[in-house]
Amino acid sequence: MGSLLSQIWTVIVMNIRSLPKRLWMSLAAVFAVSVVVAVLLSFLAMANGFEQTLAGTGSEKIGIISRKGSRSELNSTVSRDNINILATAPGIARDADNNPVYSAELYVIVNGIKRTTQTEVNLPLRGISLGGFELRDTVEIVAGRQFEPGRNELIVGQGVLAEFDGFELGREVRFGKTTWKVVGVFSTGGSAFESELWADALTVQTQFQRGTTFQTMRVLLEEPGNIEGIKQLAEDDPRMNLDVETEAAYFAEQGSALRGIVVFGWGLSIVMALGALAGALNTMYTSVASRGTEIATLRAIGFSNMSAFFGTLAESIVLSIIGGIVGALVSYLFLDGVTASTLGASFSQVVFDFQMSPQLFKNGIILALIIGLVGGVFPAWRAARLPVTLAFKNSM
């Protein structure tokens, strides 16, 4: 047994060391696999980045109340009356003066210009009260200052500054007939809120003719994740037709919007992997053919056909794993951290980064490994069955 293993090992080392002789064919196989893996990882990194951004946006400590079935802040409406009732609900944290901590918010869409294409895009303008800052402990003003309630002033997220034109600090912006001034830039640690413009809720309400309605109510939870008290109150009151969920759950659902991309990416990569598989098979059959005499000679001097089998299989796997690593590295170098933006569930731009992860890397390598295994096993079978007599034939 030990000798069989050492035989196999010898043949594997021999095959790998003779790879340069079959350089171009081997490179073709490596290249095909690397392209397939790079395509797969690009799609996965895109969906992953989007999902991570939205997952990082929602907090377990915050409850979000919206109109039943609205599914996005844009579609929701909540009346002032409902907000006043809900503010008394059990389970809402209270500040030093024993007032419940909550924020009634508005969410309207305005035009921005996407920097890369210079085209108009939908940007969310969030009307927020100072309570909204108490809720979100990750908000930090990184330049300029906070807006003053009652004035047409905006603060903009860092993501907006990076991706869109027209909202630089100090700039005056017109929304229809009203003029607003950008007075500050905020950061929320990379979450989707950074794709937003923020202004005083009551000012937005008047300037956008929203009467006394808001779109969502956010509350600070006494106990993270526990929304039962508020839910109970909302359900027991027939005047209310509202959904209550944690902000984390709300954004997690929005983050799944690019799931389709994952399915599409996998489908496409698997189809392309079949093409790469044809390349791998071609390479390996050629390799077996060119090593025919060598394999037969080894058999003649006592090597088992198992060694020919595993030698060939190993060669194929090594090639495809190199391809997989190259593909993964290329997509990592060129795409990881690249910023993009797309239309999210709230009908407005969400800025996110392509994000590679060890899990995605593993997926890429597994795909490469499968190509290598399938692409190696048939040629290996042929190698194992090569007649020993081939060694004694004089090749012309």
């Binding site: 171009w24 490179l27 039943k68 895009v121 929304f175 229809g176």
Partner: protein, 384 residues
């Protein structure tokens, strides 16, 4: 004739290799055909925009509404042939995840401005008469299994009725087809009056307007006239050609065109390398034979052409089979109960594909063909 036979013989010399190279080519063109159909579907909104149609939206943003009085004022603007108004309803049927385009419209003027929807006069008549009637596109009707005569409940994720319910009942009075193969048939239209009387937000606002001008030359004049008309009113407007609006909307999603093109290029690169390499190899294996052929009197250019013919044949056969498969795939996807814009493969994309096949065939064949051309008989025969 005889050289064609030789090409055929050379091609089928190693059946396994032929199969593998054909298969790689097949996959690449299948990917090309399918993704091109997706790309065309995405651009269809832009391609099919009528050049005599304009869109009038609120200047702040198109999600902000306009007062209905704007509609009557636009009617009398010079150069306006017809005008209609639309409201986004946010409709979904049973599953809130499966949103579709559903709009409250004024049916008469809607059919007047948007002539892309094919309805028989009887169907149009039935819709006009039934205030709770809706017309649904073929695709959305197929997705949800709606038939003419069905009474269906549809939810809105934005609006509610006065009693707080978010469900409206509708009669399916007609299922329309698009005028063009690529026209959208994923949308549902119903009466604005039904919407306006029942929803609880307070009425008389509209989402945006569609305008047909008397002639595309008048577009600019009409755009200015409408925007001037509402300048300095609480709801200023932004009027633009339909094509500009649709284009901007598609671009919001991101550069999908670039993504799809990159994937197709990647797929072609794979086969370029695989097929190119195996061509080089198969000609090298035949070095001896080529020497013999040259000895027999085949001219070098003839051999050069035969090698190229071989590589072009592989690209063409694999490519055409791939396109055929893409067509089948597109058919399958189009008939699946999922909401997608209509996918088609048109003459232009087939023509482009054939050009790419030719180019691929020539590129993969050129190196071995030149090698064969230059091959000296003595070296060829002495190399074994």
């Amino acid at each position: 004739m005889s050289s064609l036979y030789l090409v055929f013989k050379n091609l089928t010399r190693s059946k396994l290799r032929l199969f593998l190279t054909l298969f790689a080519t097949f996959i690449a063109f299948m990917v090309y055909g399918t993704l091109t159909a997706f790309q065309m579907a995405l651009n269809a909104g832009v391609e099919l925009s009528a050049d005599d149609r304009l869109i009038v939206v609120n200047k702040i943003h198109f999600t902000q509404s306009l007062p209905i009085s704007h509609f009557n004022k636009v009617k009398s603007v010079e150069g306006v042939d017809a005008v209609t108004h639309l409201n986004w309803f946010g409709g979904y049927y049973q599953d809130p995840q499966k949103l579709f385009t559903m709009m409250a419209v004024d049916p008469e003027s809607f059919l007047d401005v948007y002539d892309d929807y094919v309805l028989t006069p009887a169907e149009a008549e039935a819709w006009l008469k039934n205030r709770q009637g809706l017309i649904a596109g073929e695709s959305v009707a197929r997705t949800f299994g709606w038939k003419v005569g069905d009474r269906i409940p549809i939810n809105s994720n934005i609006f509610s009725q006065r009693d707080g319910s978010t469900v409206w009942d509708f009669d399916v009075v007609a299922i329309y087809r698009g005028k063009d193969e690529q026209s959208d048939s994923n949308s549902v239209y119903f009466h604005y009056k039904y919407f306006n009387e029942t929803q609880s937000f307070g009425g008389n606002f509209i989402g945006w307007m569609g305008v047909r001008t008397t002639s595309p030359d008048k577009n600019e004049q009409v755009v200015n006239a409408i925007d001037d008309l509402f300048a300095n009113t609480p709801a200023e407007t932004d009027t633009m050609p339909e094509v500009a609006f649709n284009k901007a909307f598609i671009e919001q999603i991101g550069n999908i065109g670039l993504i799809l093109t990159s994937v197709v290029v990647a797929a072609f690169f794979i086969i370029l390398v695989i097929v190119g390499n195996s061509m080089v190899l198969s000609i090298r294996e035949r070095t001896n034979e080529i020497g013999v052929m040259k000895t027999l009197g085949f001219t070098s250019p003839a051999i050069f052409r035969m090698v190229l013919a071989e590589s072009v044949a592989i690209a063409m056969i694999g490519g055409l089979l791939g396109l055929l498969a893409a067509r089948g795939l597109i058919h399958l996807i189009s008939n699946a109960p999922i909401q997608l814009p209509p996918l088609i493969m048109d003459g232009t994309s087939v023509f482009k594909a054939i050009l790419i096949m030719l180019a691929l065939g020539l590129i993969t064949g050129i190196v071995p063909a030149v090698n064969a051309l230059r091959l000296n008989i003595v070296t060829a025969l002495s190399r074994s």
